[in-house]
Point group: C2
Chain length 118, copies 2
């Protein structure tokens, strides 16, 4: 029944959603989300780094545009548009944008701190 509160957020147009500047060439936009699933678009300038970090939320990421060096649990590989990566709970991960690009991060459960902070 929690989802009934989200009835106005079924359709999310990128143009209608604000971007949060998280610094160092990264911007974040919250797309579709419910209590246990959240999609976030992340724009990165060329050379921008999403620093190594970890969280209990499981994450799967789609490379929508660009080319990224992706590190997960000490392994580093180059991924291009159309590729994806999966991050199990608490594994350390980070990215570096080889060129300007967009990542679509999806989390379960929802990153509540993103909703609080934009």
């Amino acid at each position: 029944m929690e989802d009934s509160t989200l009835s106005d957020e079924v359709f999310i147009r990128s143009a209608d959603v604000s971007w949060t500047d998280v610094g160092a060439g990264l911007r974040r936009q919250i797309l579709g989300h419910g209590p246990d699933l959240m999609m976030v678009s992340v724009q990165l300038d060329k050379g921008a780094v999403g620093a190594l970090h970890h969280h209990p939320h499981r994450q799967v990421t789609y490379v929508a545009h660009g080319s990224f060096e992706v590190t997960v649990d000490g392994r580093c590989e180059l991924l291009n548009a159309g590729d994806s990566f999966y991050v199990a709970s608490d594994l350390t991960h980070g990215v570096r944008a080889i060129e300007a690009g967009v990542l679509i991060d999806v989390f379960t459960p929802t990153r509540a701190e993103f909703l609080a902070n934009g």
Copy 2:
């Protein structure tokens, strides 16, 4: 500990993954996934229809390419590349491709039947 079995599936390159032809102008490719989170790429020909259906899994979908008429719980809207939609548990939903395109569907929990059937 379940995720430890997925250590070889951290990085998923689209070019390395087979496509499953699901008929009627739709093709499906399983991208990153773990026990409780699964990303699937769906290619649709112009005019192809993902028929109305429902499942208990929560779903969030990113429009990677193209333009789609999306129906969720009786509401129908037009979404373009960069937009997204969220489907709560058991809500009836479907899509129609206005032009050829790609949807990135993400589910929690994982759609085990996709792993069984390709």
